[in-house]
Amino acid sequence: MGDITVYLARKVVTMDPGRPFAQCVAVRDGRVLSTGTIETMQPWLKRYPYKIDDTFADKVILPGFIDPHTHFAFSAGYLAMHYIGPIDSPGPHGINKGLPTRAEVLAKLREAAKTDADPSAPLIAWGLDPASQGGHLHRDELDAISLDRPMWVISYAPHFIYLNSAALERAKVPDNTNVHGVMRYPDGRLNGQFVELEAGRLALGAMREAIAERGGVDGLKRMGDIARKAGVTTTAEMIFGKGNFENEWALHAKVVPDESFPLRMGLVSLELALYADHGSKGADFLLDAMKRSGDKLFFHGVKFLSDGSFPAMSLRLNFPGYLDGSNGLRNDVPWDELHERMLPYWKAGIQIHCHANGDEAVDASLNALAKLQKAQPQFDHRFTLEHYCISTPDQARRLKALGGAASVNNYFVHYRSQLHAEEGFGPDRSEAVARLGSLEREGVIFALHSDYSLVLVPLHPLTAAWVAVNRIALDGKTVLAPGERIGVERALRAITIDAAYVLGAEQRLGSLEPGKFADFAVLEADPFEVDPVDLKDINIWGTVLGGKPQPA
């Protein structure tokens, strides 16, 4: 065994309710050896060599934060993509609303240009129908929307591509190019229009490169940095194996276990993909794949989906449905077959995570769980409802009765509730998004997650905790469904030990107890001492992973 390092702190918050606070934490071989004071640790320190590290002497150490539902490896292109077509059209995030007029197209492009904080991030819009939406776009018009962010706009049928100056620069089209279909203004300057194949290849080739730079190894690392700055030491990819299981494994296996990568990551495999590749043998395959797991990168559980998205307004609602009388999308597995597809995993003891955003989908998912319980009753199965955006108090009670857990995207309370009161879900449901108070009252264990970066909320667990405790709307003053607020301790549990529980990793992660990985979030202030409305503004020094400091 190696030497002991004792990290002194202003305060250590262990998230072990029995011994909640300490002055220092001792680490050995990447794990927690002891928490307490230098005096209480003496039985260890007088027996073994140790050193004192006072880097965090004026800081607050918490267990590293856990965001149990993210998508780090999703194509950067996928995330950069916006629909601007004239008619409603299904997309990866649900039904995209049609934009009949040019003004709406330009407004959507302007909005999209503002969404990503990184000004060099590419913007890809598709679906423009020049015939019905006021003609072709061109370079100067796109430059007026954004000069810095490279923009690619693709027509509804793949014949025309429009680039702004930043994208033209990426495409490295020489001014004197003679490639057919590269269009010009009357004065000979490139006008950003690329027509048909040869020219399209130039434009799309540059787009592919721009996306590639943000995906793969570099993209994963970039996401890792974002998470580290937010105090996160563990996350879980909640749609693993969507494209190609082995390719995605190779990417993660290259990046995550490397010492330079600041996070542990769970991989939750998409059942739909396992089913496509292995049919009824998906569970066997997954059990076998789990043998590849290590300390930093591990397989965990299986993912099902039951409806669409909250922000894209494609989740499924019970009566009275959406304001406009419509309803969202069910997912690919028919609801009455959901339990049959889940059963092999249930029997194999593989934890099931089921995406359910709307209350109708929550019902469907709970029905599936009830059928699993009937087929083969189990305790401690941890069937987890993912997102749990629109629900009722009785659904929380039923979730408890069936022994399930929840992983909730509660960022929407702040970022989108008021929006969807007017558009989509109506006032009652929008106000009561993410009923954490109900879950707590019923005794359901729950975690908070960001779904980063599939939805436009930050990856920042202290912000999730802030939303959970305050439920302050985007207007900065309205408190939404105050009875669904929870206390600071419960909120911190939901981003540490209870999030570890939802990932089946509470014996290794989530609190600072002997034997657990020495993963810390290092804060500049104590979340129990600050005014709860300032929770999200606590500065984060960085993290410690397996005993190794990683400054933000």
Partner: protein
């Protein structure tokens, strides 16, 4: 280079085809997948890709089967969506795996299995990549989207897009509102339109040609029965050493003529390019590998198919001797004017 390319794109008056959006989305997904899968470094090879499109039942599979059994000395890799439909003579099959049928003549038939990007990348990464790739597009697809996904791999060079039309059903389908958008997309994307089953429509030949001309003006139109088109018309040139290069039309439909030119010393780029642009319209294909005086270190592949031409530098070693150049011209035998061709390209 020309006045037309100084223009802005014309506004299109074509109504929105509801399925087009789905294809564009699929194209974007394919390019995103390519961004993930295709290595950043430029591949040192340049594989010619021919896309065979055409509505359901137009004879794509027949053409593909024919190519596989008579590849003209090339190692062709055919990418198909429906493995089961390809009917290969069992004696020709050397091995068969889940996604590939290998033939004794060096060709292979590979399943796309919903993932074109990876299917192409697997071919590119082969120890001995094929001389040419033929992609059988889904009958309902706009080949442009598919082409862009394939071209997202820098090792792929688009050689030609063929659109097959079933002469028997074409007049009806081009008028039917449900099928017209797909037919138009396929015809307008095509370099060469192949009228298949033309033996069945003797009296309506000109009417069908007229319909094709009005749907997609200026395309090279060929007639074929039972996929009987020389491989040299379907396929482009590959600069790799194993590739044969020429046109063997023996045993084929006699309606095609070809001629070959070679040069043993570096050629004059401007003179050659000027001559090639003046070739009469009955030249269906022109393809050559050139060593030019102004750039003797590199080799250039020239392709002309229908109205589209390209000249690209290739890094692969040439199959022909140093400083040598070679050109093949293929055209309709009926209108072939050897004297005119010789005058242009002596």
């Amino acid at each position: 280079m020309t006045a037309e390319s100084r223009d802005q794109a014309d506004d299109v008056a074509v109504p929105v085809n509801p399925t087009a959006g789905k294809e564009t989305l699929a194209m974007l997904m394919g390019i995103f997948e390519a961004a993930r899968v295709v290595p950043r470094a430029v591949a040192p090879i340049s594989l010619p890709l021919t896309i065979v499109s055409g509505f359901l039942g137009a004879g794509k599979t027949t053409l593909v089967n024919r190519l596989l059994s008579e590849p003209g000395g090339r190692r062709i890799a055919v990418l198909v969506n429906d493995f089961a439909a390809v009917n290969i003579d069992e004696e020709l099959i050397r091995f068969q795996s889940e996604d590939t049928i290998g033939l004794t003549n060096g060709c292979a038939c590979c399943s796309i299995n919903g993932d074109l990007v990876n299917a192409i990348q697997r071919l590119v990464e082969r120890k001995e990549p094929p001389d040419a790739i033929v992609l059988e597009a889904s009958g309902l697809a706009d080949p442009r989207g598919i082409a862009q996904v394939a071209l997202a791999n820098p090792a792929i060079r688009l050689d030609a897009i063929l659109a097959l039309v079933d002469c028997e059903t074409f007049p009806e389908r081009i008028r039917d509102e449900r099928t017209r958008p797909t037919m138009l997309a396929q015809l307008s994307a095509a370099d060469i339109v192949v009228m298949s089953k033309s033996d069945l429509i003797e009296d309506r030949r000109d009417m069908i040609k007229g319909l094709i001309e009005s749907a997609a003006p200026g395309r090279t139109v060929l007639e074929a029965t039972h996929g009987d088109i020389p491989a040299d018309i379907v396929l482009g040139v590959n600069a790799s050493p194993s590739s044969t290069f020429g046109c063997s039309d023996t045993g084929h439909h006699t309606s095609f003529a070809s001629t070959t030119r070679s040069w043993s010393t570096p050629a004059d780029r401007d003179a050659i390019m000027r001559a090639l642009r003046e070739l009469p319209p009955n030249v269906i294909r022109a393809k050559g590998i050139f060593c030019f005086k102004d750039d003797e270190q590199r080799r250039f592949v020239y392709q002309r198919v229908g109205k589209r031409e390209s000249l690209e530098a290739v890094s692969a070693p040439s199959s022909i001797a140093q400083h040598a150049s070679r050109l093949v011209l293929i055209g309709f035998s009926e209108q072939w004017d050897e004297a005119e061709v010789s005058r242009l390209v002596p």
